[in-house]
Symmetry: D2
Subunit: 347 residues, 4 copies
């Protein structure tokens, strides 16, 4: 399969290059990067030296159509909604890693992203690319909206609880901690300068982060009623990884940790990339670094009758590029783990 990447030199795009270069069923035919156009991809991604040599080019729709069967769009918000139609009309499949097709509500998109949506008609057919929840729809999709990194960790942590109506919907709190690569490769400003971030931690965008409506949209679908959550993102001085700690009040008083773990294990029984840990074990981001897995641990606190669920994933893999490849595998009928079956590094 011939695949193209628009934004191949960014962090998500670079991970797409890394993963797809090792995918047995994919040929990388088209790498677009405005920053590195005319240069070999290894100028942007030195880890590819000796493994892949290909020149970066400027994006051109006609070339994309000619050279690709699937195109990954890893551009800023607002770009894909103007470009996806041409590719879809030409019969290509499109996987967009921006926020443009994630929110079903145009109003919500405008409210949280301050952008008018220019392709509202495409939203209907766009499938939210979280395979653990929407596998069948993804298999039939031509346009997949790949989830945000925080969202994948939050939704996977909470889905079984909401689906089974085990928790009070109004009690859900999501406290997420992210590595710095989540801010993107071009985010080198004073706040992200190494000496300012290193050996520090902070919360940011409390209650107003753009991933909030996306998490709520999916939790609402699961719960069958409108969900409003508290979401607090934090910046942690590591490169990769999101750790999400989710809190919810249990409706029934008698759940044990072991029972909920069994329930989670069943819910994710057919999910290749979700690993539910035993009681007493909690995930670490290191264990998922570079891989497409999401590890989940939980504990019922009988003192407060809350359940605390912790999920860990690599924001650039299961939170971006790996999930996009997982979606591609489903869209094209490939093995869901193709190209994603190598372990991440540890330690």
């Amino acid at each position: 399969m011939r695949a193209g990447i628009v934004g191949a030199s960014g962090y998500a795009g670079g991970e797409l290059v890394r993963i797809l270069a090792g995918h047995p069923g994919v040929e990388l035919t088209y790498l677009c990067s405005e920053t590195y156009k005319g240069q070999d991809i290894s100028a942007a991604l030195p880890n590819m030296r000796g493994l892949l040599s290909k020149e970066c080019v400027s994006y051109d729709p006609a070339t994309a159509v000619e050279q690709c069967e699937v195109v990954f769009l890893a551009q800023s918000n607002g770009w894909a909604m103007n470009q996806a139609a041409k590719l879809l009309e030409a019969g290509l499949k499109v996987i967009d890693l921006s926020a443009d097709f994630r929110l079903k509500s145009i109003a919500a998109y405008q409210e949280w992203y301050k952008l008018s949506h220019t392709s509202p008609d495409l939203l209907t057919g766009a499938i939210y690319g979280l395979p653990e929840l929407h596998k069948t729809a993804i298999q039939a999709a031509n346009l997949v909206a790949n989830p945000g990194c925080y969202c994948t960790s939050a939704i996977l942590a909470l889905a079984p609880l909401l689906k089974d109506r085990l928790v009070e919907p109004d009690t859900v709190i999501v406290d997420s901690k992210s590595g710095v690569s989540g801010a993107g490769r071009s985010s080198f400003k004073l706040d992200n300068h190494f000496p300012e971030l290193n050996e520090s931690m902070k919360a940011y965008n409390i209650g107003v982060h753009r991933h909030t409506p996306e998490i709520e949209q999916e939790l609402t679908l699961l719960a069958g009623r409108a969900m409003k959550i508290s979401f607090t993102p934090h910046l942690i001085p590591i490169t990769r990884g999101i750790l999400t700690t989710a809190y919810a009040g249990l409706i029934a008083p008698d759940w044990t940790t072991e029972e909920l773990i069994t329930l989670y294990a069943e819910f994710y029984g057919s999910a290749a990339f979700v690993q539910v840990l035993d009681a007493g074990q909690y995930p670490t981001t290191k264990a998922v670094c570079g891989g497409n897995f999401c590890h989940i641990g939980l504990r019922v606190d009988p003192r407060t009758n809350r359940v605390v669920v912790v999920s860990a994933l690599d924001n650039m893999v299961k939170g971006a590029a790996g999930q996009a490849v997982q979606n591609m595998n489903l869209m094209f009928g490939l093995d869901e783990m193709a190209g994603l079956d190598r372990a991440g590094v540890y330690p």
Copy 2:
């Protein structure tokens, strides 16, 4: 004033050495360390080279009484409750950095620490050493139980809300992130080995961390009713710093962020070491590294009617040694900022 430190080569003890060596009213007369006995303190604390030279010795109560007016105990839990009485009876003042005198309930101490308390009679007179709440009692105390590091950050974050009955007591969640020095200097096991921790994050002791009853004890005093909270500690790959994100449901629907900030600023108006940040600003642990300050930022989320409060402090200073010196200053009628008036390093 002649001061001694028992456990001078540990992380909290080492910070006591650093701070007291620069305190204008203190002479360090007695440094105890089993690990470094017979060696100069700079063998344990290389930052003291050229500034302080003094031999570490084994602890001996009679010598302590002879050489000190105040003794800081920075030993493992269970040590101070067997040793404090002798010092107090000899007329010394004692500041204990362990958990031995923090919990007023012997039952709670036994439940959470799995130790029988051997000095229950001392508990009555022991004052919980959080100056922002108990300044008058500390000024009159002979025995101060210096708070745990997580506890200081959690209690300072929540105190104004509970004191003024602004939040539903059952909704309080405390999500804390700590640097590794909080685990102590002798905690070098596989879990804390550099390659295992570095570039990773994890939650631990969810709902069962020993600081939970200590936080609840103080919040209960403030709220005037029994408090049970969810407390989740996390380990973050930095050396120093605790960031606590606290969540609580507001009782009244109309509070604004600005109003609550004003309320916090008034509550902490006379507190030299608490800095309440303006709306839209959130604290970083870097800003308090090495200093005795606690920075607090908050936001009211009108969507969920919750308030989210974030506090940052240096776990080894305001969370341990600095606070202990602040307590000493109060106990001896010194300027509360004496020895603590130099800025921490930035960046």
Copy 3:
């Protein structure tokens, strides 16, 4: 091919598991770990969850012979020299990652490792497993002594200069900087405790590090005369990576940077895993993290007539497990890049 790993839960052993689990021609039949015996390998290596499930067992020579065609020994120095013979006699091929078979001189082994060599007869047939220098011999070998991590970076940095007699042999200085994983997984002592190492740097074992005679042995072979070098290892607070800066005085005065780069590129023209960078470019350890590559950059300094060569590699991959797999590929006539053709993570 059926492969076994003795010491599968250590850092080098764990990397062998990771790489071999993704090797198309290898079946991992035998995983030995005393620490984790009876447990699944994912208890030791959480990155393997969902990809490999296999119980760790205690080492037993008969079982090894029965279940394996090749065995990787990733044990402490002194272990392999007592165990390799049995495996070799049974017709297995052995790749040893310890120092036991690296030094041709028994006297040097005893001097630097303070151990009597118990299998001096095996030394003759043991091949030093640096494929860029000894490919033909490795292809015919039954016992390969896999190089030390510092050694690979130092020897690859200097080999072309010494082979072509371009530098004064007595002027060679090797200044190496290593991540902490190089110390091994069981090295959790105070010196390596996270808060002590983090945000710090230090030199150690100046002039007496055990890798010195190994570097000198290979440089001596290349130079055709006895080499003595200055070697200074440093500990840097990162998990993976070695950066070596090598200095040597040029014999002739007229070499340019570009000419030496051309010479290096020719020397390593057929080496799949060595990448020589263009003039003005210097390697970073991040670019090789998780991959089996060694990146080399250099500059001639006309002011001092010295050449400065910088090499970067992942100490756990090209400096240990990856190189061992590369050796295995050669020993069994497989593609040299088999199992090693996926890019490491970046950033």
Copy 4:
């Protein structure tokens, strides 16, 4: 004494604020920052909250003269040479932290900095502010050129060897490793972006770093003959600290490590801030973090007859602001340690 800082919001300037705010003999009367003009200094330096409140202003020479007796210039290269004269003519003392007055040779300044020197006449009176070498001259100086951070570590490491003619001048190699704050606060570009630097190492500007002629100038003065060295700077992912490893060939064959340590201890006997470590001990940057000390360890390698000297200092303190305050103390007849007598943080 009334002191002003031009560039108070940069890293060196910020450290000047921190140190001088705690200096018993100094009043900070004038803080200039173009970036933060009109804002309180704590907006730039959050560690100063609660300790110092003062508005940043734009630089104006007349105001500087009116409000200050000493002015620290912490601006980019090329600024001070245009501004210092006015301050000096008005009778102020000036301590410049840029390179403008460090090199005695105008030709060298132009060659290495690509700037024409506009105040060559001031160079004669400018004293190179390394108190361990030039104390008497500094005491009488009106204009001090504060050394570069790499230079202090390199010169202090090598001075005793060259002064006593113990090493072959042509054999000196300086391999330095620096934390990222050395690049300055406004250096937030892709190369210094957290995810690109974190968990990586690299060499840069090999043989062409601008600090080279400054090191050579001072070593030449010590050695009494022209010195040319190899200098390689490296970037290490920590915030603060420089570790320099210096190599030199001993002229005489019989020196022991202990003898050279004795010689160093005597050379630095009256230097308050240089600590010579015992044989077998090597410095760490953590031990000097936040303090004004330089720790030095060394070893004679009898195999190569080279001496390896390692020095560690905080690039922002002894490598910049702390040294500047030390110079101020000398210029004004104050205790050399005034304001610098508090220990840095450890760990």
